[in-house]
């Protein structure tokens, strides 16, 4: 049994928390310019050059993730903030999914440089390189565990600094601070990223798929790759998964049957933009999804063209197996994740979280509910 550090007096922790929060605001404050509008890959890098590269120096050090605890996806910053999730701890293994920057995972085990993880909402499970995970500083963990989350919908990437660090389309990150027009989202490395409210969707109020589609051009001509769901590469299901995430849906399953199970069937005569068309592929292979963009244009990820549009013509109609629609509301509210996060947090941090919830909550009933949830978590964990 692992020994846990003894909780420190709450008053001291609170003072430390306040000071650190002030310091972090000072260091990571909103002086950065957000990227304007949807941008392509080369443009993203160019825009990134305008951000001060010195920013990279204020990153937190990566703290190794621990087995049995929850951790954050640190991602491959320079490659676009994603990490491969593989079937087994081996570089050549099949890819199941790609974890995006800031994804929260539970670490189930470790073998060498690899960690077996499961996404907190059970979207996917597999092996990820330990170097792409961070335990996170206290402040970061607190923000990720307690704050509402927003989805980035700027494709393909939002530049973070002038050193080429990128936040990918579809990443879901907690809000550290906000105003009417802008938000500061928390990054796993301690920095914050300034984004426009119009470019994000709140995960507890997901928007329609059309919102994410409006900014999807940056993904065009990206390659098709099995198990891909990042702007670097997608497969058919991965594209839908990514667009749903960018629309603010959380807990989106990566596995196709579970994903289609979350959508309701629609008759082909009542199709609307944003609906998912499942198209027959040759032989007995699973159907390939495409997203209806307008009444005559679909978006797909195909092995022949990568991410691309295709016409809703006779050929496409002849392949149509069924139409499915995702509703605008998420079936997973932030509550369940928070409960999991609390359950997975070490005891000294739970005290801090409880205190934080009580002090920051404006609503007594909400605070009470949170407290109940947290206590249940502690009870289960212990």
């Amino acid at each position: 049994m692992k020994s846990r550090p003894r909780p420190r007096p709450l008053g001291l922790i609170w003072i430390a928390f306040t000071v650190s929060a002030l310091l972090s605001r000072e260091l990571c404050g909103g002086s950065r310019d957000p990227a304007e509008g949807p941008i392509g890959g080369a443009a993203a890098t160019a825009a990134g050059r305008d951000r001060p590269c010195a920013d990279a120096g204020v990153r937190d050090r990566r703290i190794p993730a621990k087995v049995g605890d929850w951790a954050l996806v640190w991602g491959r910053w320079e490659a676009g903030g994603w990490a491969d999730v593989l079937e087994s701890p081996n570089r050549d293994a099949n890819r199941i999914a790609q974890a995006l920057l800031g994804d929260r995972v539970e670490v189930l085990g470790q073998r060498g440089d690899w960690m077996e993880v499961i996404e907190l909402e059970r979207s996917w499970r597999g092996w990820i390189q330990a170097a792409h995970l961070t335990y996170g500083s206290r402040r970061v963990r607190r923000t990720f565990a307690t704050k509402p989350t927003v989805a980035l919908a700027t494709s393909p990437y939002l530049p973070i600094d002038g050193c080429g660090s990128l936040a990918p389309y579809g990443a879901q990150l907690p809000v550290a601070d906000g105003s009417k027009t802008r938000l500061e989202v928390q990054l796993p490395d301690g920095r914050r990223l300034d984004v426009k409210r119009s470019q994000v969707a709140l995960t507890d109020q997901p928007k329609s798929i059309s919102f994410a589609l409006a900014n999807v051009n940056g993904l065009l001509r990206r390659p098709f790759q099995t198990g891909g769901n990042s702007p670097a590469a997608v497969d058919g299901v991965g594209l839908v998964y990514l667009i749903l995430r960018a629309s603010g849906h959380d807990g989106v399953p990566r596995e196709p049957a579970a994903l289609w199970g979350r959508a309701t069937p629609v008759s082909s005569g009542a199709m609307e933009p944003g609906d998912i068309l499942l198209l027959d592929t040759f032989g007995s292979q699973p159907p390939s999804p495409a997203i209806l963009v307008t009444d005559r244009i679909l978006l797909e990820a195909s092995p022949a063209s990568g991410v691309n549009f295709l016409p809703l013509d006779e050929l496409t109609r002849s392949r149509l197996r069924e139409v499915r629609r995702f509703s605008g509301t998420s079936s997973h509210a932030g509550w369940s994740r928070l409960g999991l996060a609390m359950r997975a947090a070490p005891s000294h941090e739970r005290d801090l979280l409880l205190l934080f919830i009580v002090l920051t909550s404006q609503n007594a009933a909400l605070a009470a509910l949170l407290l109940v949830a947290c206590h249940r978590g502690i009870g289960n964990s212990d």
């Binding site: 392509g40 890959g41 080369a42 993203a44 890098t45 160019a46 490659a79 676009g80 890819r95 393909p156 990437y157 051009n217 065009l220 001509r221 990206r222 390659p223 098709f224 790759q225 099995t226 198990g227 891909g228 670097a232 590469a233 497969d235 027959d280 592929t281 040759f282 032989g283 007995s284 292979q285 390939s288 307008t294 005559r296 244009i297 092995p303 022949a304 063209s305 990568g306 691309n308 549009f309 295709l310 016409p311 006779e314 050929l315 002849s318 392949r319």
Partner: protein, 764 residues
């Protein structure tokens, strides 16, 4: 209003109505090829009720199982009548085109026995099936039939049949190992028909028979004839080896002069026999005049470069440079030396040769080409700052073939440097100054891509130009998708040139259409009963066959239907090149059969089965992709062999296939088996599917690796910028051949999709 005015108004109204009737909305389905809309239910219905003509059309579309079902039904319903025999003949030719000779023989026996339909042709097919199928116990009877028919050749249904029986007699005797008969029949054949498509094989078989019987002089003469007169034939290399190794020498052959040797070496170079060419060049150089020596050295540089003997290539070019410094041969050799040096990455030597060419041949096309070669090397080595000024100077040269190349490279150099405005300007200049350039389609496409963010309208216009001018090309297909990104949907009528009229087609349905031409009448009758190869041979004897487009089209059609898809495409390339590039997809403009000839789909069911099998535990690939790959590799010719030894439809290397077979089935596969379409397609498809899996389901790198090998492609793939769009990756492939290959295969994949799968659920 006066009466005249009223008449004018009435006339105007009529004209308007007519115009509206022409331009107004009409049933879109009518514009499209009728065969394209066949569903699996319709195919089932056709199998139950279809006619012989329907079967012929289905065979054309690659729907062989349904075609065979129709014909089987007809032949069973009519065991001894004409309709049944016609069906049996067609079934036999289909089976023979799939090398299923043993199954064809009983059907042909029945037709011969009934004797009512095309009796001489039926006998010819029977002998052919026995010989090609190597049915040992029937070879004696095959020889007897062939000999008897040859005797009465003046009475046969066609004068062409005599030659066929004569060739079959030689082949049957060879298969029966009756060497004496091969010698007599072979000598007779070569005496009467020395230059036919079959004479190369007959010459080889006869030479082997003479060799076996120890008749050295005759053997030597024939081997020498094969080697010196037909170095292009598949047996030439073997004949040369036997000529060199054996004691036989041609008694009648006179020694060659050095000029003759040079001419012969040029022929050898043309067919890729460079080692042998070098031998001849060495002899020509050592015994000839100083001019011959210079020419021999210049030609040697060419062969050494082809053999990738780069160091020797440069040394030989240097010898030539010192021997004849001001000669045109030295200039050409200098360019080849630069190419060899580019392979060895010797920048200093490239600079030195470029400077020498500039000094020795100032302002010449050669000097410009050398500068271009140096610039290309610099650009490929990421030294764009040095490459750009050189490319600018080359692009201002007069010679188009270099100037437009330079402009294309210049545009990309600017693009990679982030100088987009200059990149656009280079492409615009190319389009304005070189409207006939081979880079036109690429320039249109990339100008649109570079422009679409700034000027949507201009980009749409450029993409639409591509659709009109190059609808069947890779760039045309990409333009269609890029238009969708700009919210523009291309209609069926947007593809291709709607105004260019297709020549009137000869439907080969009336034997009296061309009076006084028996061959034409025979061709029509033979085509009707599915004997396409014979019909094509007849048509080819007509004096107008090449000049008359309607006959040329009918000939291409017959060749393709008979399984000679290679010739079908070649005829279209020769007589209908414009339609291949920009033909409309509207069947009122370009007939549907044109596309079936241009994009043949033989062995469709074998391909679909192989894709199903490979897809069970592998990546998603589609039959249309495999069809496009086969078209590119062999144009559906099962006997195709490449100079490097790749074999069959999908051009598999025997070693690779062997390795794959052991992995997949635990058994082995021989080179001979790879000529079997079923085996070749199965392993080729599996190999492609494995490459797709290697690259995590993506087709581009898999197609590249089919051409260039896995190792270099993995290197390019892993070194690419992660945000690089796929079309840019394809454009940046370092091997020019592979770049062209992947574009061709991807473009053809889309063509196979719209020709064969539009509205039809493949594999369902």
């Amino acid at each position: 209003m006066s009466r005249i005015a009223r008449c004018q108004r009435l006339l105007l109204c009529l004209c308007l109505m007519l115009a509206l009737a022409r331009c107004g909305p009409s049933d879109e389905g009518e514009h499209r090829p009728r065969g394209l809309a066949w569903t699996s239910e319709q195919l089932e219905q056709l199998a139950r009720t279809g006619t012989h003509d329907d079967a012929n059309q289905l065979f054309r579309m690659g729907e062989v199982p349904t075609a065979l079902r129709i014909l089987e039904r007809i032949q069973q319903q009519d065991p001894s009548g004409t309709a049944g025999d016609e069906a049996r003949l067609t079934i036999a030719t289909i089976l023979m085109s799939q090398r299923r000779y043993t199954e064809a023989v009983p059907l042909l026996d029945q037709v011969v026995k009934n004797g009512a339909v095309a009796p001489d042709y039926a006998q010819e097919l029977l002998v052919e099936a026995i010989v090609e199928g190597e049915i040992g116990e029937r070879l004696g009877s095959a020889m007897a039939i062939a000999a008897a028919q040859l005797k009465r050749r003046g009475e046969l249904q066609s004068p062409l049949l005599g030659e066929r029986f004569a060739a079959l007699l030689v082949k049957a005797a060879a298969a029966a190992k009756d060497q004496a008969r091969v010698c007599t029949a072979g000598a007779q054949y070569l005496h009467e028909w020395p230059n036919t498509p079959r004479s190369d094989e007959v010459r080889w078989l006869t030479a082997r028979a003479f060799d076996y019987l120890g008749r050295d002089a005759d053997t030597g003469n024939l081997y020498a004839e094969i080697w010196f007169q037909t170095p292009e034939s598949p047996w030439a290399k073997q004949a040369h080896e036997r000529l060199r190794s054996g004691p036989r020498r041609s008694t009648g052959a006179h020694p060659m002069t050095s000029a003759e040797r040079l001419a012969f070496a040029a022929r050898l170079q043309k067919v890729g026999l460079h080692e042998e060419a070098l031998d001849e060049l060495q002899r020509a150089g050592s015994s000839g005049t100083p001019e011959d020596q210079v020419r021999a050295l210049a030609m040697s540089v060419d062969s050494l470069l082809a053999l990738r003997k780069n160091r020797e290539c440069v040394q030989t070019a240097a010898r030539l440079r010192s021997l004849a410094p001001g000669s045109t041969e030295a200039a050409a050799a200098g360019l080849l030396a630069i190419q060899a040096l580019r392979r060895t990455n010797d920048l200093e030597a490239i600079r030195e040769w470029t400077a020498w060419l500039a000094r020795t041949f100032p302002d010449s096309a050669t000097a410009v080409e050398a500068r271009y070669s140096l610039a290309t090397f610099l650009q490929n080595s990421d030294r764009r700052d040095e490459a750009i000024p050189l490319l600018v100077s080359v692009s201002q040269a007069q010679a188009q073939e270099i100037a437009d190349n330079a402009l294309w490279k210049l545009a990309w150099a600017y693009r990679l440097e982030g100088r987009n405005a200059e990149a656009r300007a280079a492409l615009e200049r190319m389009l304005a100054e070189f409207p006939e350039s081979g880079f036109r389609k690429a320039a249109l496409y990339w100008l649109a891509r570079f422009t679409e963010l700034q000027d949507r309208t201009a980009a749409v216009k450029l993409y639409r130009t591509l659709l009109r001018e190059y609808p069947q090309d890779y760039y045309g297909h990409e333009a269609t998708r890029n238009l969708l990104a700009l919210q523009e949907v291309a209609e069926w009528s947007d593809f291709g040139d709607q105004k260019r009229e297709f020549p009137v087609i000869d439907p080969l349905d009336d034997p009296t259409r061309r009076p006084a031409t028996d061959a034409y009448a025979r061709a029509v009758s033979l085509a009707k009963i599915g004997l396409f190869s014979f019909a094509a041979d007849e048509l080819e004897t007509l004096p107008d066959a090449e000049r008359d487009p309607s006959l040329a089209f009918a000939l291409a059609d017959l060749r393709t239907r008979s399984g000679d898809t290679w010739s079908g495409v070649e005829i279209l390339k020769h007589s209908f090149a414009d339609f291949l590039v920009s033909g409309s997809r509207d069947t009122r403009v370009v007939p549907e059969d044109f596309w079936y000839i241009a994009y043949p789909y033989n062995y469709r069911s074998l391909i679909e089965d192989a894709v199903r099998e490979a897809g069970l535990d592998s990546a998603q690939i589609e039959p249309a992709l495999v069809a496009a790959l086969i078209r590119m590799e062999s144009r559906f010719l099962p006997s195709a062999v490449s100079p490097v030894g790749a074999v069959g439809l999908m051009q598999l290397m025997p070693g690779t296939a062997e390795e794959l077979a052991r992995k997949v089935t635990g058994a082995s596969v021989t080179r001979a088996e790879l000529f079997e379409p079923e085996i070749n397609i199965r392993y080729g498809t599996r190999y492609l599917a494995d490459r797709v899996t290697d690259f995590r389901g993506e087709w581009f790198p898999a197609i590249c690796s089919y051409n260039a090998g896995v190792r270099p492609v993995r290197r390019w793939w892993e070194a690419r910028r992660l945000d690089m769009p796929m079309d840019e990756f394809i454009e940046s492939i370092p091997f020019e051949d592979t770049r062209r290959y992947v574009k061709q295969v991807l473009g053809d994949y889309r063509n196979y999709q719209w020709i064969y799968y539009q509205g039809h659920r493949g594999g369902q």
